[in-house]
């Protein structure tokens, strides 16, 4: 059999196989539960695995590897996975085929760890499907491509670029000499954290199903809950505390956690980003406490403020009350949290604390330069210095990110959404948070947006999770790759004919 040498196809195939496994597991859950939906999940697994193996074994890795190819691989595999993720919703009949875009919304929201849902009646959805929903977030959290690199030795591709273009943050941290080992370590840590959170949640009184699904969506900072009321369903302070710790942990860099595990707790002290991350959340918590003071009873205020500071600061989006009822100043605070998001190298979304740090340093350097025009000032972050090229990349990213938020906000309000909902929805979608302000609060679902508006949100979520650049360069890189392929074929033809 002749295989085509296109890396993106092979990576997409591998990612599909992983998703098929998730569907199969969910089918088993559905069978055990007996609530139906097993058949639909089974058939979607079959379809996905056959397409996946077809793509995987029908292709091989291109001989040349560069960053453009990595971008294209990640971009295309996410597209494939998002399409496959619609199958369970459609085949179980939860979402009818005519509302294919809604299924796609739910799937993209899942894999990008946004946690915005269009499901309104959770009672009629089978447990297996809810399990699958949580699992999509779990898979998307650390990254499907990273997982594929970690567990599929036959994938045959490496390069830190591939991981770097999927992992959140401007740079990827090399944890070991081999990229596959790096990917393995990340997933090991991720899986370990999930198990611990699930166990603790179970021990504080959740059912097994709830514990596992919530652990999935906590560690991935996704925010899907099998209950319409989200965490408010349990109304238990211990559960909220466990989730707060879990979300805080997952909003911080996983490679940093790995260093801390292997080298001792001192690893945390060496990185200034984590200080900023905690300060930001603590500051927001204090602000919320202050603003809500006198509005809500003090213990309730403490509980809700802390929960939302962490939930939105780590871009998870769990809810334990309705913050729409809070004062406007609290909303502004929450919006800033949504915008910034977690640390780079974490599973959280948003702009990332590291970038905020770089932007701060960059701007203050300009102030210094305004006074001393000839000064040469490096951008320092704690004890390390950021290269100019990286700083320029970060600045470009932030500008593009803000531009996309504005564009999304304009598009949504042009479709008739009120500006607060539109712009906060745009921030929330590109930051992969979930709930927004206005009409799209934590107790509502995204059906408040018009159908075309949900398409805009889908695009924003995908752009946000893939950190804008890979998603935007996907097509550029692909057309270039096709042109290269053609040129090479022409070359081989001419050599044969001579």
């Amino acid at each position: 059999m002749r295989r085509i040498a296109v890396t993106p196809v092979r990576v997409a195939g591998a990612a599909l196989i992983v998703v098929a496994a998730a569907m199969a597991i969910s089918a088993v859950v559905a069978l055990l539960d007996g609530g139906g939906g097993a058949e639909g999940l089974f058939w979607s697994a079959v379809i996905t695995v056959s397409v996946g193996t077809g793509l995987f074994f029908g292709s091989k890795v291109s001989p040349l590897a560069d960053s453009a190819l990595a971008f294209a691989s990640v971009g295309w595999s996410w597209l494939a996975v998002s399409l496959a993720g619609t199958l369970p919703f459609l085949l179980t009949g939860v979402i009818p085929w005519v509302r294919f875009d809604d299924a796609l919304f739910e799937s993209i929201s899942g894999f990008t760890c946004s946690g915005s849902t269009i499901l309104s009646d959770f009672g009629s959805v089978s447990q297996g499907l809810l399990f699958f929903r949580s699992m999509t977030q779990w898979l998307g959290g650390m990254g499907l491509v990273v997982l594929a690199v970690a567990i599929l030795p036959a994938l045959g591709i490496g390069g830190l670029e591939l991981i770097a273009s999927e992992a959140p943050g401007p740079t990827a941290d090399r944890l070991s000499l081999r990229v596959r080992d790096t990917a393995r370590r990340l997933w090991l840590l991720y899986g370990g954290a999930t198990c611990i959170v699930a166990l603790v949640l179970f021990s504080v009184g959740m059912s097994v199903f709830d514990a596992v699904t919530h652990a999935f969506t906590t560690v991935s900072t996704g925010g899907y809950s099998p209950h319409a009321e989200s965490i408010a369903h349990f109304d238990s302070f211990p559960i909220e505390l466990v989730l707060i710790v879990g979300m805080l942990y997952s909003g911080a860099s996983f490679s940093l956690h790995w260093h801390a595990l292997t080298q001792g707790i001192g690893a945390y002290r060496r990185v200034s980003e984590i200080r900023w991350y905690f300060c930001l959340i603590a500051g927001a918590f204090g602000m919320l406490l202050w603003v809500n003071h006198g509005e809500i009873e003090w213990f309730q205020n403490l509980r809700e403020s802390l929960f939302y500071a962490v939930s939105l600061g780590s871009s998870t989006g769990f809810g334990n009350s309705d913050y729409i009822l809070w004062m406007p100043a609290a909303h502004v605070t929450l919006l800033v949290l949504m915008l910034v998001g977690g640390m780079s190298g974490s599973t959280a979304g948003g702009m990332k604390v590291l970038r905020l740090q770089v932007i701060f340093r960059y701007s203050f350097r300009e102030l210094l330069r305004a006074r001393h025009p000839n000064a040469v000032i490096p951008i320092r972050m704690g004890s390390t210095t950021i290269e100019e090229q990286v700083a320029a990349k970060v600045v470009g990213f932030v500008l593009l990110y803000l531009g996309l938020i504005v564009a999304g906000g304009i598009a949504l309000s042009g479709l008739g959404v009120d500006p607060v909902t539109a712009f906060s929805g745009s921030v929330s979608a590109i930051g992969n948070v979930g709930p927004a302000l206005g009409e799209a609060g934590p107790t509502n679902n995204y059906l408040v947006f018009p159908r075309a508006g949900r398409v805009v949100l889908m695009a924003l979520m995908a752009l946000g999770r893939l950190e804008v650049f890979p998603a935007m360069l996907m097509l550029v890189a692909s057309t270039r790759g096709i042109a290269q392929l053609r040129r090479r074929r022409r070359l081989t033809h001419s050599t044969f004919s001579h």
């Binding site: 701007s363 102030l367 990349k393 470009g396």
Partner: protein, 529 residues
Amino acid sequence: MTPRPPVRARTSGFAQGLTGRLLAWIGSVIRTLSKGKIESAIGVTVGAVWVLSAPVFLVCSLADLLDGGSDFLPLLLTGAAVEIAGLLVVRLSSFPSTLPISRLFASVVCGALAALIAVTAAHLATGVAHNLDVALVEAAATITGTNASTINPELLSLGMLLFRALGQWLAAAAIIIVLVRVLPHLGVGGLDADGGVATRSARRLAPRSGSTMARLVTLYVALTGLLGFAFLLAGMPFIDSIVHALTTISSGGFSSRLGSIGSFDSAPIEWVAIFGMFVAGTSLPLIFRAMRRGDLHRFVRSVEFRVYAGLIATVTFALLAWSDGLPSAVSIRHAIFHAVSSISTTGHMAGDFNGISFGGEALLLVLMVVGGMSASVAGGFKVMRFMVLGRYIGRELRRSVHPTVVEKIHLGRSSIGETALARIIGELFLASMFLVPTVLVLSADGLDIEGAFTFAISIMSNVGVGFGEFGPLKHLGALGAVGHLAAALLMVIGRISITPVLVALGGIGEPAQIAIRRWRTARREVVIR
């Protein structure tokens, strides 16, 4: 290719000469006055601002006397007090022999503060504003050209009405002078925070900055006269047309009526206002060049002008497309009015502002942030800077595919240096970092979230019109004292851009900074040992 023959200024030689001589005379007066003991650029600036603004008080009090209003005496007395204080400060200080950049920044900021104090005093003395915070925010709105007010202009006396309009007009004229006279002294590290992108065209208008200034000021005065005459012809009463000409061409936005331009309910007046606002947002050097040579093609050749006009056209189209019902002559006129009023950061109102669709609202807000062309009197971030930022993003996108590519950013025929780029970006981020806490304060002080965001953005761009549940011009009235102070600060920062303010502040804290740095290095050395 043959070199172009030098083209001489044909028109308005007399007026230019007059303005030039007047400006030179003012300069020499200040110079002769400032022979004091204290070498301080700040002192000279503050004194000069006070000395020069006192005649405005006099003119307005005379106007009030003729009209029979009640503000004759307070205005006259405040004017006299300001004049005396100014003379005193100027007399005590003298031009320093050396002028570090931070001092220059500080003197610009202090000049603005001096104007703020004088106008605040007038508001308090006439009893227009009863509290200090209201007077401060009204004064800030006057000197920054923002159409935000807590006062019903129809209840104002003629003297005060004229005073506020003249204040907006003169502040915009001062911006032109700063643009031409101060910025070149800052070398590349310009006050405009973009390394001279905005002022490059302005500086090359004439060999001497003094004559450039005279030309631009003459043009500004001529445009004001033209606009006033046009308003009169369009059927506006005499006093109203003076006030509106002053506040339109300066992109200020104060009006003599509660309902702004819309209260006249006349199509010709609105078209004249649209023209005036459009001109206010256009680069003055560009207008000068085009008019001097009678070469309208210059406008088309300017990339920035094309984008400026294109933005207005696009938003007008979107406003019409997103509104209910088919476009009529009235709705088209109002859509253009809203778009031009926003992008030129004037803030005049006409038509149904509350009836604008959500999408239109968002777009108008974007126009407010974008602001007018560089080297215009309009506020906002300026069209050219956003064009540069767009190119920057494009370059970063290309760089992520070709990591080693070296690329220069071009805008029209000129290329933008890396320093200038960094300045623009720094300015944008600093401004947004300042905006967020202010939004927080405004929302804590009584505005709803939509109102707080839109109003903060709007006053930072010196527009003054906000959206939300309060109606376009009611935001300032809904705020408390803290909100008023925050709004005043935001207006001033929006007008003179944030970098000079922070650098001037940094100049104040310099000794402390040096002490901290010494202490930190000492500590680091101890750790190393």
